[in-house]
């Protein structure tokens, strides 16, 4: 599993299978920051910033070596 796969699964569980397909098709593991940013944007709008940050924090802990910058105001 890569970050892209995990985020596709995560967004698919909340927004439906088409969303998971779009992430798989249009995003690349070569640019994890882009995948993270779109996931953060969508999850914050969906369930509020606090819950979104907690969800992404848990997911990112699996990928310690990735250099992901969180959006301004993130914990």
């Amino acid at each position: 599993m890569t970050l892209k796969d995990d985020i596709a699964d995560l967004l698919g569980s909340k927004f439906g299978k088409e969303t998971a397909k779009l992430v798989e098709k249009n995003y690349s593991d070569k640019n994890p920051q882009e995948i993270y940013d779109v996931a953060e944007h969508m999850l914050s709008a969906f369930m509020g910033k606090k819950a979104a940050d907690a969800t992404l924090e848990k997911l990112l802990s699996k990928y310690g070596k990735l250099n992901i910058k969180k959006a301004k105001g993130a914990n």
């Binding site: 439906g16 088409e18 779009l22 944007h41 914050s44 709008a45 969906f46 369930m47 509020g48």
Partner: protein, 254 residues
């Protein structure tokens, strides 16, 4: 394709129409009975149909899809109960009660899936489950302390348990619904669940009024409107779910 706002307006117009039917009481007794029976069936089929569209949209393997599926199963169970109850001729206890009661665990499963969308580990978080259980027990105890009419010595034990049992089940459903909404209040996910909470609240209000008036209640009573509008609110919730997630997914590269 009709947009989501028009779908909600159509549901609202249908709600106004059924309210008018129950106030104006058109035709003779037989016509009115047939009309309200038809209203009952159509009103339950509306959210079932919208729910199936929503399940197809999200996919059955997604948590959203599973959550909607169990709400649809609950409505189907209650529709079967409504039909059995109508055929049984206003009996206080009948086979319909099995299907009415079966709806509650189905709705509870739907809410748990809803909570898992924001907190996938909820089932392992003993403190939260204990806290929700405690609040539920306190509310049920408070209900029976304040509403002593809930137990009628003139009817059988089973009749008492069933008449009052629905109110208890409604209270048990409302607590986790409010817990879910409070956790995502700043996100759009709370919007459809506000509709679901309003539906659950209407079911509670309807069941309390039924609890007080079950001796005089008969099919076609204006009280039915609480349950019918609750059905429509579940349908509206599914439309809002699709609409709100659709707005967010527009952020994705296409």
């Amino acid at each position: 394709m009709m947009n989501d706002r028009k779908k909600i307006i159509l549901i609202a117009l249908y709600a106004i129409m059924i309210v008018a039917i129950h106030i104006m009481h058109p035709g003779d007794a037989e016509f009115y009975w047939n009309l309200t029976t038809a209203v009952n069936i159509v009103t339950a089929i509306i959210p079932i149909f919208i729910g199936l569209v929503a399940i197809r949209h999200f996919g059955i393997s997604s948590l959203q899809g599973k959550s909607i599926l169990f709400i649809v199963l609950m409505i189907i169970s209650w529709l079967v109960a409504d039909v059995i109850w109508t055929l049984s001729g206003d009996a206080l206890v009948s086979a319909a009660d099995i299907f009415y009661l079966a709806g509650y665990p189905l709705l509870m499963i739907a809410i748990v899936y809803g909570i898992m969308i924001i907190d996938p580990d909820i089932l392992t978080e003993k403190k939260k489950i204990l806290m929700l259980s405690l609040i539920s027990v306190i509310l049920v105890a408070a209900y029976f302390s304040f509403f002593t009419f809930s137990w009628d010595p003139e009817i059988t034990f089973l009749e008492n348990v069933l008449v009052g049992g629905y109110v208890v089940a409604d209270i048990l459903i409302i607590i986790p619904t409010l817990f879910l909404i409070s956790n995502v209040l700043s996100g759009t996910f709370s919007k459809p669940w506000l509709f679901i909470a309003a539906a659950n609240l209407l079911n509670l209000v309807g069941d309390i009024i039924y609890n007080i008036n079950y001796e005089t209640y008969a099919g076609g009573d204006p009280l039915d409107l609480t349950w019918y509008i609750a059905y429509l609110l579940y349908g509206a919730a599914f439309i809002v779910m699709i609409h709100e997630t659709g707005k967010i997914t527009s952020a994705l590269k296409k």
